[in-house]
């Protein structure tokens, strides 16, 4: 079985300051990990993915995430927040073995607010 815990339901940052959205996962096997972003009334957009290659993954819009197996974490960061980053962010795990290994298991989401 696999699971994802997003440690903060809401994060608020000032424009131009760093962003840190935390995610811990649980998976019996080497997982694939994703971050998706959802702007209000929009669909889910893939920000970045980890698939057992480099542990530091760069995504779109200046976001990156680091896979740390020892900590079972996949935190999302950005050096400088922009107003357009205000959205809900989902950490997602996939992989493992057996039935359902292809399923995407979503965290409950972190709502990011950016203060001007």
């Amino acid at each position: 079985a696999q699971s994802v815990t997003q440690l903060d339901s809401h994060v608020s940052v000032s424009e131009g300051t760093p962003v840190l959205l935390r995610c811990n996962y649980s998976s019996s096997y080497s997982p694939s990990l994703f971050w998706y972003v959802q702007h209000p009334n929009k669909g889910l957009q893939l920000l970045l993915k980890y698939t057992s290659a480099a542990t530091l993954v760069k995504g779109i819009n200046g976001f990156e995430a680091e896979f740390k197996k020892s900590e079972t974490s996949f935190h999302l960061t950005k050096p400088s927040a922009h107003m357009s980053d205000a959205a809900e962010y989902f950490c997602v795990v996939s992989g493992g073995s057996g039935a359902g290994s292809y399923q995407l298991t979503f965290g409950k989401g972190t709502k990011l607010s950016v203060i001007p």
Partner: protein, 115 residues
């Protein structure tokens, strides 16, 4: 098209009526998922199609829910005798066979409101 297309974008229906939600995946994507996003509930897996294999229906919440995928392309999610708790955004995603290595593309969803 370039993305996953879902229709309708919004649907308001009366309790007890049947509804059909449509998903048109990206051409060449053999994997297709339906998820449900309810307020305060996060994203819930409903059903998975992969090529010609039997679908994984383990996430369907009741026998009022069914889905099919014709010709390995377009998928329809049907909800019979809708209930108010069915109100949610229904999201479709498609991907390549080893989609977990590439990620999945989601449509904009169908917002279903049962009144």
């Amino acid at each position: 098209g370039a993305g996953v297309s879902q229709s309708p974008s919004n649907k308001v229906t009366e309790k007890g009526k049947d509804v059909e939600l449509r998903c048109d995946p990206i051409s060449g994507h053999t994997a297709l998922y339906w998820y449900r996003q309810s307020l305060g509930q996060g994203l819930e897996f409903l059903i998975y199609f992969q090529g010609n294999s039997a679908p994984d229906k383990s996430g369907l919440p009741s026998d009022r829910f069914s889905a099919e995928r014709t010709g390995g392309s377009v998928s329809t999610l049907t909800i019979q005798r809708t209930q108010q708790e069915d109100s949610a955004v229904y999201l479709c995603a498609s991907g390549r066979p080893s989609g977990q290595n590439y990620g999945y593309t989601f449509g904009s969803g169908t917002r279903l409101t049962v009144v």
